[in-house]
Amino acid sequence: MPRLSAAIRHRIGFKLNGKPVSVEAEPRLLATDALRHGLGATGTHVGCEHGVCGACTILIDGAPARACLTLAVQLEGREVTTVEGLAPAPDRLSVLQAAFRRHHALQCGFCTAGILISLEAFLREQPKPSEQELREVVGGHLCRCTGYTPIIAAALEAAALLRRQPQVLAAESIDV
């Protein structure tokens, strides 16, 4: 049985946004720290480290998880998706991200990564969400800037766009 000693670092391998990565971790290293400081994926933010605020939400094998309540060693062999993996290309936004921008669904942007991740997972499960369902999903996050309504509006619009043309609209270019 693999037993990882507290005293030393262990090499942990997993897939991050589709690419194999590895990071050195003591057993106690949180997944947030491994992702952010070990792998430079700083888009996943840390807001409370006790699993309430949702800023650090990532996907592990497609299901949402609080990265602050996950140990780096628990990522071994898993498929991890972070906010860096949502856009189809570096200079493009996903449908959901573009809807967030249109609806001013972010201000400081600190909580946004986690919310995008949760909605990404939920819209895959439920392509025709009701406003109430979306409010309950976003209810697992704290946002201090927006008052939430623009986030719900963006998610509803993104869901509608994805239903209409899931393939064509999988990405939208940034016209900068």
């Binding site: 807001g47 309430v52 600190f110 946004t112 697992g140 927006t146 008052g147 939430y148 986030i151």
Partner: protein, 979 residues
């Protein structure tokens, strides 16, 4: 020049900030790289609300792997001076405790190590010995006789007592009826999603501190920091990261940590990084002040108010930290709100208590003031049997009276309050009343509330000096103004950049500045590049710089407009020279510079813009350069306080009128917001989407303040809301959609006609909702937060009696008293004398004290023990002391115990009685009262009751087992019961 034809400004363009934030490329402080070898800090904090520090033992921590330094308050005191405060009080403002702790969460020591993990390991190994002192948390109690004094040199906890008089308030009160309200406004905070962060470095050769912090200003604090660090201002280079994860005023409070981490870096000899965690943030970052207010109005039978009498007792926590007592004085000019009231009496007292220091929080003084003022308006209507809206209407400042000078000195810039109110209620109020009537007919508790508020923005840097007497002010020299700065520069290919000292924290400053500047040059807004991360070592800034007092749109965007205009006017001179046209004919549009009325005379913008770099010899007379223009702008209307204490505390005064329909379910105590309408006049709207975002965000925070949020303390000063499980922010399921309305009366005092808008709903919404609930429940006294228990208690009648068949419940604790009480008994098959002997025997105690690792006897009745205590997985090692007193051998004794450890402290006492039963055994009875403090109280509130009960129960169960080990089953029934 004449006002520009605005094209980008006023449009809800997509924000330039968003793409990076949405794709995880934001650059918040913890996302930035650090220099190789940078160390990490963790901060040890006080578990006591008030205690003398007897010793700090750092030896064991210092030798742990990876630990580089342990910094204590004494180390700090050697290298720094206390932080300067706004009040002249003999209270030393150290950012880390030196000899005494005065609030739970106060820094005690800093561990600096190779990682945050190792630094936290070191904290666990530091041992601090305290002598606990009596604590005081209530501001009124704190002013009273016998209250423990926090700062002995100051002599008392009341550190400021100022009386003000404007007009003839006594005569007005003598001639009219008085209506009054009493309010205890609670403590809450802005709680940005990103916590504080500091990365500091120190150069011993140049004596320079280089500190990166997600500070937000005001940069008057830079002077406080430089003085504390004992360097001139030019040797404290303070830098801000490009992004900051919200602030809402709170990140002003990172300032003391700039000192702490700066000193830690100096001692460690390497750069040091510290990222605050959420427990630290909730417990010790920045709280809004809690305030006790009595407000009286002299009012006619028709509800016209002739005078107000304010009595405000402000609680600034343990240290009067700069810029406090600014929360109390920011509203000074607009203490009459939206109303035309010419006579005002005011008494302002500032009190210190054993709670975390206060500071900037969105609304900054407004929530406290308007809660009292607008509750008063509702009470006037109820007591005089008038329509509450009519009372508001009758007192509004007349539409033709602007600019309007208030009794206390503010100059309201513009407005039409009547039009705003009428536009908001038109059609909507009748519909709301219909909903109310239908709900009430169906037996529901439904009410309507209103609130009108004047939202000040662009603070006068001199308003804080109103706390001083006129004579003290003369001595100190006048302070006033609100310097805003912006720099616009043009590079050698003619592209335009903007630099500002506005330290945005999510508001989209870069987008709006691009819009404003693009309009001046006739360029697409996407071609303007805005940099907003400030470096005090290089950028233009002044004491008023920063992101507070809703000053961006009015002051900073205005300064950028001015800088761009100056540059544009010079470019126009160049173009006129090149095109052989008159300067006044020159226009800028669509990326070109042209002579109006002459289509042939057009040059690309870049050509003119770059000329100064490439061909300065071609500059016409009177044009020095067009490379960079920095505008400094301060409004002349912001003077120092007058001899008679009038102060124009803010430049701009927006207007808000809110209206709400709320239904309360009396059974669950839950309130449902049925309708919420908020009308704003924030002058010219520069970006409607962002203005809406500010209003929605402010509303959501206000919703939190109304129903969910309180930084709660027990009477003994234990802090109780250290996690997001106890300090509750509203989520998407609690936050309703609202209706937002606008009228625009542009400010004549600001370059763009804009006023601030970010804080208004934090002022108007809590009291509007409280007024609706007061209307629904017929309640007169209402204090926040309106928890289900409070609302249910207001709505409910007497409780259904306890049936005699159930056992009696012991009386409930006083409100605010969260100590743990309990009692129980154990039956033991041994005589009282045998039990008595066991209670005084070291070996027995060692075997029955739960989790005991050994007992040391200090005297016959005094023992020390080392114990591991816990419930479920929550376990910690503690030092315990147990003392027996009031001995009545072998019948009764009082047991007093205390424990302290990394998880916190606990103490309590109980009376143990030993009663012989008929079978030769003993009934051991016990009743206890205990209190828990420190980390466990702050984060495990829900656990405590159960833990205390379980641990005390375990002790007596073990005693029972030990007393009669041969008869298990007979004695082992231990009944625990809590009060």
């Amino acid at each position: 020049m004449k006002a520009e034809v605005i094209s980008w400004t006023g449009q809800s363009v997509e924000r330039v900030e968003d793409a990076a934030l949405l794709t995880g490329r934001g650059r918040f402080i913890d996302d930035l790289g650090t220099r190789p070898g940078t160390l990490h800090a963790a901060i040890l904090r006080s578990p006591h609300a008030h205690a003398d520090i007897l010793s700090i033992e750092t030896g064991a921590a210092a030798v742990l792997p990876g630990v580089v330094a342990i910094v204590t308050g004494r180390d700090l005191a050697k290298l720094t001076t206390p932080m300067v405060a706004g009040l002249k009080v003999a209270a030393e403002n150290w950012p880390m405790a030196v000899e005494r702790v005065r609030y739970v969460g106060e820094p005690i020591a800093i561990a600096v190590a190779q990682s945050r993990y190792l630094a936290e390991d070191a904290l666990d190994a530091i041992e601090v010995a305290y002598r606990p002192l009596k604590a005081v948390v209530d501001p009124v109690t704190s002013m009273g006789e016998g209250a423990p004094v926090l700062h002995e040199k100051a002599g008392a906890n009341l550190v400021s007592d100022r009386r003000f008089r404007y007009g003839e308030p006594e005569a007005a009160f003598a001639a009219a009826r008085t209506v009054s309200v009493s309010i205890a406004y609670p403590r809450n905070t802005g709680s940005p999603m990103e916590t504080f962060g500091v990365i500091a470095d120190y150069d011993p050769h140049e004596d320079v501190y280089d500190i990166l912090a997600n500070f937000q200003g005001p940069f008057s604090i830079h002077t406080v920091l430089a003085r504390a660090l004992k360097v001139p201002g030019n040797r404290l280079r303070l830098r801000m990261p490009p992004e900051s994860g919200g602030s809402f005023g709170v990140k002003q409070g990172v300032a003391p940590y700039a000192v702490l981490i700066g000193v830690a870096a100096r001692i460690a000899g390497r750069p040091v990084k510290w990222i605050e965690d959420r427990l630290e943030h909730l417990g010790a970052a920045v709280a809004a002040t809690n305030r006790v207010t009595t407000l009286k109005a002299a009012v006619s039978a028709e509800g016209r108010i002739s005078a107000l009498d304010w009595d405000q007792i402000e609680d600034c926590g343990a240290y009067p930290r700069a810029p406090e007592p600014a929360t109390l004085y920011r509203m000074h000019g607009n203490m009459t709100g939206a109303y035309d009231i010419r006579h005002v009496a005011m008494r302002n007292r500032v009190v210190l208590t054993n709670k975390a220091p206060t500071g900037l929080v969105r609304g900054f003084g407004g929530p406290q003031v308007y809660f009292a003022l607008e509750r008063l308006m509702q009470r006037i209507a109820v007591e005089l049997q008038l329509d509450p809206l009519d009372v508001i209407r009758r007192n509004l400042v007349p539409a033709g009276a602007f600019p309007y000078r208030t009794a206390t000195g503010a100059l309201y810039d513009s407005g039409n309050y009547q039009a705003a109110v009428e536009q908001a209620v038109a059609g909507r109020l009748a519909a709301l009343e219909k909903r109310r009537d239908e709900a009430r007919a169906a037996g529901k508790r439904y009410g309507i509330g209103f609130a009108a508020a004047v939202e000040p923005s662009v603070s006068n840097m001199g308003y804080i000096t109103t706390v001083l007497t006129a004579e003290e002010r003369r001595k100190a020299g006048p302070k006033n103004g609100a310097q805003a700065t912006a720099t616009v520069s043009i590079d050698p290919i003619g592209s335009v950049s903007v630099h500002v000292a506005s330290t945005p924290q999510g508001q989209g400053h870069r987008t709006v500045l691009a819009q404003v500047v693009a309009d001046i040059f006739g360029l697409p807004h996407r071609e303007i590049r805005v940099v907003a991360d400030l470096d005090t070592g290089k950028d233009a800034w002044s004491i008023a710089s920063g992101n507070y007092s809703s000053r961006f749109a009015a002051a900073v965007a205005g300064a950028a407009h001015l800088a761009a205009t100056r540059l544009r006017d010079k470019l126009a001179l160049i173009a006129a020279d090149q095109l052989k046209a008159e300067p006044k004919q020159i226009g800028f549009a669509a990326g070109a510079v042209f002579a109006k009325g002459n289509p042939g005379k057009t040059i690309p913008f870049g050509r003119i813009a770059a000329l100064c770099h490439w061909s300065p010899a071609l500059l016409p007379d009177g044009v020095d350069q067009t490379i960079r223009e920095t505008a400094f702008w301060t409004p002349p209307q912001l003077g120092a306080p007058s001899e008679s204490d009038e102060i124009n505390s803010s430049l701009c005064h927006g207007f808000i009128f809110d209206m709400a329909g709320v239904e309360v379910d009396p059974a669950s105590g839950r309130a449902r917001i049925d309708r919420y309408v908020t009308m704003h006049d924030c002058g010219r709207v520069l970006h409607p989407g962002m203005v809406e975002g500010q209003i929605r965000g402010g509303f959501a925070q206000a919703l939190g303040a109304t129903f969910y949020e309180e930084l709660a303390y027990a009477e003994d000063g234990a802090f109780l809301t250290g996690t997001f499980a106890d300090y509750l922010l509203p989520t998407a399921t609690e936050t309703p959609d609202i209706e937002i309305l606008h009228i625009e009366t542009p400010s004549p005092f600001t370059p763009l006609g804009a006023k601030g808008v970010g804080e208004g709903n934090c002022m108007s919404t809590p009291v509007c909702l409280a007024n609706a609930i007061a209307d629904a429940l017929g309640a007169s006294e209402i204090n926040l937060p309106l928890t289900p228990a409070k609302l249910a208690a207001l709505a409910a009648g007497p409780e259904q009696a306890q049936p005699s068949t159930t056992r009696a419940t012991v009386s409930v604790a006083r409100p605010g008293d969260r100590s743990l009480r309990g009692e129980g008994e154990a039956r033991v098959a041994a005589a009282p004398e045998a039990i008595w002997a066991m209670l005084l025997d070291v070996d027995t105690l060692a075997s029955i004290i739960p989790g005991c690792h050994g007992v040391q006897k200090l005297s016959d009745t005094h023992f020390k023990a080392d114990v591991t205590l816990g419930v479920g997985p929550v376990k910690g090692r503690y030092k315990a002391e147990i003392e027996l007193s009031d001995l009545d051998e072998p019948r009764a004794a009082t047991l007093t115990g205390s424990v302290s450890g990394a998880l916190g402290t606990g103490g309590g006492s109980g009376r143990v009685t030993l009663t012989p039963d008929s079978a030769g055994g003993t009934v051991i009875g016990y009743a206890y009262e205990a209190a828990v403090g420190g980390k466990v109280a702050a984060i495990g509130g829900r656990l405590l009751d159960g833990a205390a009960k379980a641990i005390i129960g375990q002790f007596f169960a073990a005693l029972a087992r030990r007393a009669a080990p041969s008869k298990p089953g007979f004695f082992a029934r231990v009944f625990g019961r809590r009060a």
